[in-house]
């Protein structure tokens, strides 16, 4: 019985530690940069919770730091909607976005996004970047406005695993 109890204690400790490891808000740790169009897997509690309330949590490497500062500085008029946050959460998310932005992190995606971007460029929309336009130049205009797609902001309409950071061209399924 003694061993049994001790075993439970050890198990409970291991369980608690591993639960903590999963639930603690990490400082935005990258787990390696997969090749192709796979994005580094990032974890950041506020970014995932807040940004993903209305759309997918767009990867920080889709825009440069200056863009993220503009986006996060205007949340009360966020593409026509009020997405305001309390100041502490807003600052926390901006720090994470800046640390992992296209011009900050050495990710493959970041390098691609920065190609052809001027030093003073700070686009507000990911869809305005040259990289995005080039990548989607074969998609007809009418496709974007289909009811099943809604808008170009809805990555997951066609990139079904967008929320997991998977944007491989082979996995694209454009809905009718």
């Amino acid at each position: 019985m003694n061993y049994l109890l001790r075993g439970i204690g050890v198990l409970a400790t291991v369980g608690t530690i591993s639960m903590l490891a999963f639930s603690l808000p990490s400082g935005g740790k990258a787990h390696g940069d997969g090749g192709g169009d796979a994005l580094p897997r990032l974890t950041h509690k506020n970014w995932q919770q807040e940004c993903a309330s209305c759309h997918i949590a767009y990867a920080p490497s889709f825009l440069p730091k200056a863009s993220w500062r503009r986006v996060m500085g205007g949340l009360d008029q966020h593409f026509g909607e009020n997405a305001s946050l309390d100041p502490a959460t807003q600052a926390d998310i901006l720090r994470f976005l800046e640390a992992n932005a296209a011009d900050a992190s050495p990710s493959q995606m970041g390098r691609r996004v920065m190609q052809g971007m001027g030093a003073n460029d700070a686009p507000l929309r990911i869809t305005e970047t040259r990289w995005f336009v080039r990548k989607h130049d074969e998609v007809p205009l009418a496709t974007w406005s289909r009811k099943s797609v809604g808008s170009a902001a809805n990555c997951a309409a066609c990139h079904r695993q967008a929320e997991q950071g998977v944007f491989d061209e082979d996995a694209v399924r454009i809905p009718k």
């Binding site: 049994l4 075993g7 439970i8 198990l11 409970a12 369980g15 608690t16 639960m19 993903a52 209305c54 759309h55 997918i56 009360d76 026509g80 909607e81 009020n82 997405a83 305001s84 946050l85 309390d86 797609v149 809604g150 808008s151 902001a153 809805n154 997951a156 309409a157």
Partner: protein, 137 residues
């Protein structure tokens, strides 16, 4: 056996943390908003809440906006954000997590009232809104 004890321990931990995060109920929030509006809880009105939900207001781009626009005419159904992401149902009967976190409730009233009404909602309006949603079976 060990596994069972471990699992029930985990489940208990989970419940404790769930309780710690969700201390409010629709009823306790109604009490809070009624008190803020200096009216008795009995003065909160479900029909007024329903009207607030359904009324169309002039929006920014010559289109009308309403709560129902994104949350659908039936708050027991899931809605869709403007960019197509699912919104879990608003009515507690369909989604028990609703109106259990005061900070979350305040955040969304602030944002969505500004979008739909171009102003913040009053405490009375917030109370009416929850009174209506929480009596939906």
């Amino acid at each position: 056996m060990i596994k069972q004890v471990f699992h029930s321990g985990l489940a208990m931990l989970g419940m404790v943390s769930a309780v710690a995060w969700a201390t409010e109920t629709p009823a306790s929030l109604m009490v809070h908003y009624a008190a803020t509006a200096s009216v008795p809880v009995s003065a909160l009105s479900a029909p007024r809440g329903a009207a607030l939900y359904r009324t169309e207001h002039p929006g920014r781009n010559a289109q009308t906006v309403s709560c129902a626009g994104c949350h659908t005419a039936d708050p027991k159904q899931a809605g869709r954000t403007r960019v197509g992401k699912r919104i879990e149902p608003l009515a507690p009967a369909a989604n028990p997590e609703r109106f259990t976190d005061a900070a979350k409730v305040e955040k969304w009233f602030r944002r969505n009232c500004m979008d739909v009404l171009q102003r913040e909602c009053s405490a009375q309006e917030k109370g009416d809104f929850i009174a209506w949603l929480s009596q939906i079976k």
